[in-house]
Every structure is written in structure tokens, then in C-alpha cells.
């Protein structure tokens, strides 16, 4: 029989016992729907997570340091001084920064300016780590739920506080085991207030640079500070514009900062940084030398490529690529589990198909006998039952995708209501990509054809003489 005739006869037969076949098809569609709903949530969560990760800046940032820095003890430096190869111990200066910034796939490369200094608030001194942020950090996840606003400009005399520092300023500590202090409550008395930052400015000094290294950090401080440049004590007024709940620098571990300044402002201050001393001592030019540079990569998947390129230039790099890879593995496993659970419902539905078709054989025994008597081959009968199973599979698959899509939407909607109630940011953690639609319908068709295998074989083998005798 031709496919066209098969389809026509199959659909006609499905219409004949409409209720039973509809119920079976609904069974399939529920199975497909559970599969689609599970996977769409899995995919959605994965997309949400990677979206968050990209925003967090954890996985698209490479931190570049000079190799020298890592082994920055005086002794090693001396050894290298005997025969340093330029590629191995390059200075991380402005020209290196520009070179990195022009690498393919690099979005920006900005110097890490971070220093510990004293901040005065309400006439009380607080010693803390300060870090500079480029204006691109505005899109960072940490500032999404921030109280107040981001820096008005890259040079504004403004500061954003991390929540823990805000607590420190207000003299509040979160109760042990209890609820955390609300950021909004912390921010209210602080926003718009002024902080006074006292810092050491590095100014070019009149004396020639010292030629030798020193044995200890304090000795070096004295020597170099006196020899290379002068240090001037300064004050800078900063307006508190924001209090952030999350930590934009969580990847930095113990060196993370609690107060943030606009990058250009921080650069203009020429604050003396702990690593300045060593670098400046061997810097050949007047160019600024950085202790480390943060490189933002266009896409987390290109981090490895960029890292390799920078390493080739003679610098040390650090990124959280490995962590993102294990996260991907986690989602693959999660998807697999969701797929298995979603498939269970489809497996139950496939038993429904077998049942329906076996019933149909019993009911249509005589009809099968007639068809064989007037010339239908075993293959024709088999194909007809196969076509019926397939038609139920495709119809159930289409209905199931629609149903699963709706279920996913409802779950997403309901969860967002819940999130809003808990005063958390609602988000979309549900996604039905086209490949999932195709996969679900294809899978449904496959399952129903496999289910039709046994009934179709049984119908084909029916003895026409007995089938015609049967009333």
C-alpha cells in the first residue's frame, strides 16, 4: 500500500473508535509533556545559571600577573637578575596592557588597583581593602540588587560599599544564626554620606632609583620610597552612592575589597600599591606598571584561548574556567536525570499504545480477515497498524509539546510569584528550544512505533479463515 493510503486508512480507523484512541493519544501527550517540561526546566536552569555566571564576571575574567610577582622574594629576583629572558619576566606595564587588550576575543583589559588604606566615617577610622572598578562592571550581577546607584561617572568621587563594610561603619553585626541584616536598612543611613579616604600618593621623586633589592619588605619600603619617588599623604572625600549585597570580587578570596571606586578616579590618585615598590625598581620607562590586570573575555568559552595567548606573552594567568566546566558537567547529569524521569511517563504511555492496538486487533479481527481475503498481504496489515501507532505518536507528540510548554510556563509563572513574595528577583528559568520540540515529537513517534511492533506483527499473522469465521 502507498503511504498516502496508509495514512488515510490509519486516520480513518483512529476516528472510528475516537474515545479510546483519543485517550491513548492523551496518554502519550502527557508523557511527552512531562519530558518537555522536565527538559525545558533543566535547560532553562542551565541558561539561567550560565547567564548569571557570565554576569558575575567570574567566568569571563582572566587575572594577569607578572611572573616575577609570583616569586617576588628578593632572592629569586636576584637570580633572575643574572640572566632574565625578556619573554619570561616581562613587566606588566601600559604597553603590555594595550597588547593584551588587542588580543582577539578580549573585551577589555584594565589594571587592578587595590590597596589597603584608612577610611574615616563619622570621625572613626576604618582600615579596609579598596579596589577600583571599570564602568563596564555596572552590568555585574552584584550590582543588580544594589541599593543606591552605580558611579555617576568614571571619575566621580564616589564609593560603593560592600554590605559587610556598611555593617562595620554602622557598628552593626548580624545576629548569629538569625536573619541577615537587610541591605536596604543598611543603605538608608549611609547613602549620600561622605567618607574621607586617607592614602599615600606616589609622586616622582628627585633622586635616582636605587639599584639593589632589599632583604625584607620594610627595608625595601624605606629604600625605594626614598630613592625612586616620594610619598605624599593625601585625603580624598568620597560620596557613598551604593551598598551592594553581593560580592563582585568573590573570586579573589582573601584579597577581595569592601569598598569600590571608579577606575579612572583611582588611577588619577596614584595611590601607592604594595607591589609598586618591586616593579618600579626595575621599570625602564615612565610608563605606569601594574601589579595585575583584569582581562574580560567576550565569552566564557574563549577564556582558555585568551589565557593561552597571554601566557605566551610571558605572564601568569588565573581564571575560574575549571569551575565552569564542572558546572557544565553537573547540568549534563541533571538533564540526563530529568530526561530519564520524563521518559518514564512516556514509557507508561507506550504500554497504553500496545493495549489500544491489541484491543483494536480483537475488535477488528473480522476486518483484518476481510482485507486479507480480498488481497491484503501480511505487510499491508502490519503497515496499517504501524501507521495507526505512528499517527497516535505524532499527534500525541504535538499535543504533548504544547502541553509541556504550557506546564513549564505555569511553573515558571508560579515560581516567580513565589520569588516576588520572598522579595527575590524573578527570572526566567524555563526554555523550550526548537531542537527540543523536534526531539520530543521524534521521540514520541519512535516510542509509539516500537510499541506498535508487537500488535502489528500479531495482526499480520492473523489467520484469515479463522478471522472470517469470528463473529
Amino acid at each position: 500500500m502507498k503511504i498516502q493510503d496508509l495514512t488515510e486508512l490509519a486516520l480513518r480507523n483512529l476516528r472510528e473508535s475516537l474515545l479510546r484512541n483519543s485517550l491513548t493519544t492523551v496518554g502519550i501527550s502527557v508523557g511527552v509533556a512531562s519530558l518537555v517540561a522536565m527538559l525545558s526546566l533543566g535547560i532553562g536552569l542551565q541558561q539561567l545559571a550560565s547567564r548569571r555566571l557570565v554576569k558575575s564576571g567570574l567566568f569571563d575574567t582572566v587575572v594577569v600577573t607578572s611572573r616575577r610577582d609570583l616569586r617576588g622574594t628578593g632572592r629569586e629576583r636576584n637570580e633572575e637578575g643574572n640572566g632574565p629572558t625578556p619573554g619570561e619576566s616581562r613587566v606588566l606595564d601600559e604597553s603590555a596592557r594595550l597588547e593584551i587588550e588587542h588580543l582577539p576575543n578580549v573585551l577589555e583589559a584594565y589594571p587592578d588597583i587595590r590597596f589597603i588604606t584608612e577610611l574615616r566615617y563619622d570621625d572613626k577610622p576604618h582600615l579596609t581593602m579598596i579596589s577600583a572598578l571599570p564602568s563596564s562592571a555596572r552590568s555585574n550581577d552584584a550590582f543588580e540588587a544594589m541599593q543606591g546607584s552605580f558611579f555617576s561617572s568614571d571619575t566621580a568621587s564616589e564609593a560603593i560599599l560592600q554590605k559587610t563594610f556598611a555593617e562595620e561603619l554602622l557598628g552593626k553585626t548580624p545576629p548569629r544564626g538569625g536573619d541577615e541584616l537587610n541591605v536596604a536598612d543598611l543603605a538608608k543611613p549611609l547613602l549620600g554620606k561622605e567618607l574621607t579616604m586617607r592614602y599615600a600618593q606616589r609622586a616622582p621623586g628627585p633622586a635616582p632609583p636605587s639599584a639593589s633589592g632589599a632583604d625584607s619588605a620594610s627595608a625595601r619600603d624605606r629604600d625605594l620610597a626614598g630613592a625612586a619617588y616620594s610619598v605624599i599623604s593625601r585625603e580624598q572625600k568620597l560620596k557613598i552612592v551604593g551598598v551592594a549585597d553581593l560580592d563582585p570580587e568573590s573570586m579573589r578570596g582573601p584579597t577581595r575589597a569592601k569598598v569600590f571606586l571608579p577606575l579612572k578616579l583611582a588611577e588619577s590618585l596614584h595611590v601607592m600599591q604594595p607591589t609598586d615598590l618591586r616593579e618600579i625598581s626595575r621599570a625602564a620607562s615612565d610608563q605606569p606598571v601594574y601589579s595585575s590586570i583584569s582581562v574580560r573575555v567576550k565569552n566564557p568559552t574563549q577564556v582558555q584561548v585568551v589565557e593561552d595567548a597571554i601566557k605566551k606573552m610571558g605572564f601568569t594567568t588565573f581564571s575560574l574556567l575549571d569551575a565552569s566546566q564542572s558546572l557544565r558537567t553537573f547540568f549534563k547529569v541533571l538533564d540526563l536525570f530529568l530526561l530519564i524521569f520524563g521518559s518514564l511517563a512516556l514509557a507508561v504511555a507506550s504500554i497504553g499504545i500496545v493495549n489500544t492496538l491489541v484491543m483494536a486487533i480483537l475488535e477488528r479481527r473480522r476486518e483484518i480477515g476481510i482485507m486479507k481475503a480480498i488481497g491484503a498481504s501480511d505487510g499491508d496489515v502490519k503497515k496499517l497498524f504501524f501507521a495507526e501507532a505512528g499517527a497516535m505518536g505524532i499527534l500525541g507528540g504535538i499535543a504533548g509539546v504544547a502541553l509541556g510548554w504550557a506546564i513549564g510556563r505555569i511553573i515558571n509563572f508560579a515560581t516567580n510569584i513565589y520569588l516576588r513574595r520572598e522579595s527575590l528577583t524573578p527570572d526566567n528559568f524555563w526554555s523550550v528550544p526548537w531542537w527540543l520540540v523536534g526531539l520530543a515529537i521524534g521521540f514520541s513517534l519512535l516510542v509509539s512505533l516500537v510499541s506498535g511492533l508487537y500488535p502489528a506483527g500479531r495482526a499480520a499473522k492473523l489467520d484469515p479463515v479463522q478471522a472470517l469465521r469470528y463473529e
Binding site: 500500500m1 502507498k2 482485507m371 480480498i374 488481497g375 491484503a376 498481504s377 501480511d378 505487510g379 479463515v465
Partner: protein, 254 residues
């Protein structure tokens, strides 16, 4: 008029030949010999009646000739095909192209209209839709049911249903028409109507007809030859005088 006029062209060719044909069923311990050593021959264009009481094995012989069943032993050769040696697939082809069947209970498919029932064999033969519709319409025209082609079998009388079944049996232009008690469910008037059509096919289209019946009168009126079966064995084989048959038919109609 010694033989049927249309059959004269193929008078001497043998349409069906069976040799010691047996069909045994096993029912637990006992073996039922439904057909037990039947040897017969039907010439092309002949109209033969298989007679016998119920359980005599006449329907079983018909099923063996139709290729719906396979012999336990012996042979049945139809139009030079040894049916015992055909594969299941080849038997289906044989049923499709060589044999047309009508049954006591009409055996139309209830969910299909008359036209769809009639064209169903053409679907198995993979004939194009438009050609199918033309042929089905022609066949229904022949049995006088063209006006009812879009009705379902349940909306028709028994006689009309059997006429539709005849149209379906004709659609593939088979050489052999096998009828199993074709008038068994009909009153005598519609039964006569159907039998006249069967004879018309036999004479005008030159189809070989084998009809199973338990009504001797019917067989005497229409068949050229009567084969009597009892307990699966052939017990008598006699030729009717065609003139006498014709006279009786005319008498019955007038």
C-alpha cells in the same frame, strides 16, 4: 448451446485442478479431516457448485482454492499456480489479482462507504486514486448501486450489500469468482437477483465460478456442474443439462 457461450474460448483449459487434497485440523487429541483426499478439476469459464451439508468440508475446499488456507497434503493448482508452494506474500498477490470472493455475510467493512469498500482491493494493488475512483464507480454501475456509492453498508439492504460485495470481487478483474453461500442471508427474490448477476459475470466476463451452497435447487438452476461432498470426501460429480437449467431460470423469472 452445449456449453456456456463466453466460456467457449477457453473451454479446454483447466482453471482449477486438485489432487488428493487434504486439510486436517488438530483439536487436542483428535484430528478433524475437514478435507480428505479431494481430487477435482474445474475448466476455465465453468460454473461449478460445491454441495454438501454443513461440516461436509465444502467451505474448506473453497478456502483452499482461494489461497486463504494451505493444504495439509495434496495439491491445488489454480491457473497454473501450485498454491501449496507459494509464499505468504505470493498468496496475497494471488488473492488480490486472480480471485474475487463473496461471502454469506457480505463482509463489507462497516466504517467505509460502498465506494471505499469496492476500491479497497485497488489500494492493496497500489492503483492511483483517480483510476481507483473511476473503476469503483464503473463496478458499482454494473451492479446498479452507483447512486448509493457514498452510503455505508448498514444503510443498505442485504441484497444491496451483496451486490456491493460482488462489485468489490470484480474490481481487480479476476479470472476466478469464489462464492461461499452467497444467497444464504437473502430472501429468495434477492437471492435470484444475485445469482443472475453471478451467472452474468460467468457468461459475459468469462469468469470461472465456484459456488458453495447447501441448496440443491439453487445449484441445479445456475451451475453447469455439481460436486457433492460429505465428511471431507467427494461423493458425486454430475453435469447439469444446460438447456434444462436455462429453461428453469426463465420460468422462474417470468
Amino acid at each position: 448451446m452445449t456449453t456456456a457461450p463466453a466460456a467457449s474460448a477457453a473451454t479446454h483449459t483447466v482453471a482449477i485442478h486438485s489432487e488428493n487434497l487434504c486439510r486436517h485440523y488438530r483439536m487436542g487429541e483428535t484430528v478433524i479431516r475437514a478435507v480428505d483426499g479431494v481430487s477435482l478439476e474445474v475448466r476455465a469459464g465453468e460454473f461449478v457448485a460445491l454441495l454438501g451439508s454443513s461440516g461436509s468440508g465444502k467451505s474448506s475446499v473453497l478456502n483452499l482454492i482461494a489461497g486463504l488456507d494451505r493444504p495439509t497434503s495434496g495439491s491445488v493448482v489454480v491457473q497454473e499456480r501450485d498454491l501449496a508452494k507459494l509464499s505468504r506474500e505470493e498468496l496475497a498477490k494471488y488473492r488480490l489479482h486472480v480471485v474475487g470472493m463473496v461471502f454469506q455475510s457480505f463482509n463489507l467493512i462497516a466504517s467505509m462507504t460502498l465506494a471505499e469498500n469496492v476500491e479497497l482491493p485497488l489500494r492493496f494493488a497500489e492503483v492511483d486514486r483517480s483510476r481507483r475512483q473511476t473503476l469503483a464507480s464503473e463496478a458499482l454501475q454494473r451492479v446498479g448501486l452507483r447512486a448509493r456509492m457514498n452510503h455505508r453498508p448498514s444503510e443498505l439492504s442485504g441484497g444491496e450489500q451483496q451486490r456491493a460485495a460482488l462489485a468489490r470481487a470484480l474490481i481487480n478483474r479476476p479470472q476466478l469468482l469464489l462464492a461461499d453461500e452467497p444467497t444464504g442471508n437473502l430472501d429468495s427474490h434477492t437471492g435470484t437477483e444475485i445469482m443472475n448477476m453471478v451467472r452474468e459475470f460467468n457468461r459475459e466476463l468469462g469468469m470461472t465460478v465456484v459456488m458453495v451452497t447447501h441448496e440443491r435447487a439453487l445449484a441445479e438452476r445456475y451451475a453447469q456442474r455439481m460436486i457433492f461432498l460429505a465428511d471431507g470426501k467427494l461423493i458425486d460429480n454430475r453435469t447439469n443439462t444446460p438447456t434444462a437449467v436455462d429453461d428453469r431460470v426463465r420460468g422462474g423469472q417470468s
